[in-house]
């Protein structure tokens, strides 16, 4: 893994922009000061087109091997948005950068390639997306369920907004009042 030393937010965005040109839909930098000396925490929010997602991650790994804590997803009605949260420069004091790459998948065919070959640590969060949001991850090494019980109905995805299958499972523990 190459150890790029002076990774600042603008260097990162420029290196992505000139490699993928229009495929990076938009990128913004947010800064939030904290503490009495008002040092800033840096967030980069980047929207990426689905087709070029795999080599964006490959490019990121060559830039600097990132730490991927989690990928979160939300259901925007027409399509499902997956947000991969990376952090760079995590071993330099006060220079850690949160890089959040979000990619939108059509709800009719929510599919995306796996990144387990580049970052093996992504297996659990990808399995979780598969069972909670119904996103098909192509090429995932092991696609069993992580958190839901085995007798959970097959095509019910709890995080989707328009989910009907949950009503019969739903239980309000206060009903037993009297």
């Amino acid at each position: 893994m190459t150890k790029e030393n002076n990774l600042t937010p603008d260097v990162i965005i420029k290196s992505f922009k000139d490699k993928f040109k229009t495929k990076i839909i938009d990128a913004q930098i947010k800064k939030k000061p904290a503490g009495s000396e008002k040092k800033e925490a840096i967030d980069i929010w980047m929207k990426v087109d689905k087709s070029v997602f795999k080599n964006v991650i490959k490019h990121l790994c060559d830039l600097q091997y990132p730490h991927l804590p989690v990928a979160s997803g939300n259901d925007l009605g027409k399509n499902i948005e997956l947000i991969y949260h990376f952090t760079l420069n995590f071993d330099k004091r006060l220079e850690e950068i949160n890089l959040n790459i979000s990619v939108e998948l059509p709800k009719s065919k929510p599919e995306i390639e796996t990144i387990c070959d580049l970052i093996p640590g992504a297996l659990i969060t990808e399995r979780e997306k598969q069972e909670f949001l119904g996103v098909k991850i192509k090429g995932i090494p092991d696609d069993r369920r992580v958190f839901l019980p085995d007798d959970f109905p097959k095509d019910v995805y709890p995080w989707r907004r328009d989910e009907k299958g949950l009503e019969k499972l739903y239980k309000n523990l206060h009903e037993v009042k009297k």
Partner: protein, 408 residues
């Protein structure tokens, strides 16, 4: 010519556990005493927290977040408030930032003291369990004095903190810190100079630096393998930007890092020392000022109802980095709330750690990553047809027996 076919046995462990651990289900492939393969099945504690948050406003979610994990009950609301404050762009007064750091560090010491007791119990030293938990009782009294409840602190609110540490409360805090400092030496001697713990811990459950990076391990587990990854140092949140804090890895004490259980013990003891020093820095650098940006909760709720945006909150919990993602879209409940507890990322490193270890080492290696849900109790060994179960007592006795054997 009886050609013995080499078969591996299949051991299911869990999920019910008599001691304090949460239910998780291990499946081990073992060959003789050696573990060949590990498979972990989670989800026994899945209480649908994210799904339940869709009908609640952020103040209610704060208390849902607090009960995700009982031991580190401060880290989830901390990451949640950071995410909401980034999404709704709320500025927190400085005194509240310092108070938040003090609460985070008190919780870290309490959690590490708990872990030290449990790890010693796993190896068979019950007196050390009582000794570390006696130290922990002093910390629980301090938490109760500062927050009103021993375990669920309920002290964080969006945009600040609910209880102040006034000048007449400070002597009690420094009293407990002094008690910790002169007990720290006793703890260090017990854990690090003891011949038996060295035999059991050194060389057991090794997580190489490369594996820790590749599997994105977090917290003391990855720092014990030499990876410099600590949210408090890397990013400036709460008041960590103003304090002088640096990465802590085992080589600061022993000069070399080999990522085994012994290094994780060193790592956590060094972090207790670092937390004590951080609390003292905060106590004398604390600026004056109010402790929340808006005392009236009703007004906070109205402002959050109108806020829009998304934010990522990251906080360094005792077990690793907690990350919350919140998306607010202008109605009462947040649109999305994603929680990621540190143990998610420490599940995969178990596999390289446990491969090649003996059955008797399972408790100590699994407990060394201080998982928020680890378990071993009954090991059911299916051997040539008849299934007999090793109860927790026998598994524990196996582990203690191994210690005795090594002691001779």
């Amino acid at each position: 010519m009886s050609q013995t076919t080499k078969t591996t046995y299949h051991i299911p462990i869990g999920p019910i556990h008599p001691a304090l651990k949460e239910p998780v289900y291990f499946e081990f492939e073992i060959d003789g005493e050696r573990i060949v393969d590990v498979d972990v099945k989670l989800g026994h504690v899945h209480r649908a927290v994210e799904w339940a948050s869709r009908k609640r406003n952020p103040i209610q979610i704060m208390y849902l977040a607090e009960r995700i994990c009982g031991i580190c009950s401060y880290c989830h609301p901390a990451a949640f408030t950071l995410a909401v404050e980034k999404a709704a762009d709320i500025q927190v007064p400085e005194r509240a930032e310092y108070l938040r750091v003090i609460q985070a560090e008190v919780e870290r010491i309490t959690s590490h003291a708990l872990w030290a007791g449990v790890a010693a119990h796993e190896i068979g030293f019950d007196t050390v369990l009582f000794l570390t938990w006696e130290m922990r009782e002093k910390l629980m009294d301090l938490t109760e004095f500062l927050c009103g409840n021993r375990v669920t602190k309920g002290i964080l609110t969006i945009g600040g903190i609910r209880r102040d540490i006034t000048s007449d409360m400070v002597p009690k805090v420094t009293g407990v810190l002094d008690y910790l400092k002169d007990n720290f030496e006793r703890l260090r001697k017990i854990f690090l100079d003891d011949k038996t713990i060295k035999m059991r811990a050194q060389g057991a459950g090794i997580l190489t630096n490369d594996n820790a990076l590749k599997l994105c391990a977090v917290g003391p587990t990855t720092r014990a393998s030499g990876v410099k990854k600590d949210v408090r140092v890397g990013q400036s949140y709460f008041a960590y930007g103003d304090l002088n804090i640096d990465y802590v890895t085992p080589d600061t004490l022993t000069g070399e890092v080999n990522g085994d259980v012994y290094d994780r013990i060193i790592q956590r003891l060094l972090e207790i020392k670092q937390s004590i020093d951080l609390i003292e820095q905060c106590l004398d650098k604390m600026p004056k000022g109010d402790i929340t940006y808006e005392p009236k909760i009703a007004k906070v709720l109205n402002q959050l109802k109108k806020a829009e945006g998304e934010g990522v909150g990251r906080h360094e919990a005792p077990r690793g980095e907690v990350i919350h993602y919140v998306k607010l879209d202008g109605n009462e409940a947040p649109f999305t709330w994603k929680v990621r507890a540190p143990t998610y990322n420490n599940i995969l490193p178990w596999i390289p750690m446990l491969k090649g270890e003996q059955i008797a080492d399972i408790p100590i290696v699994a407990a060394s990553t201080d998982p928020c849900m680890s378990c071993t109790n009954r090991v059911g060994i299916v051997k040539d047809g008849n299934k007999y179960e090793l109860t927790k007592e026998e598994l524990h006795r196996l582990s203690v027996e191994k210690t005795r054997r090594l002691m001779r």
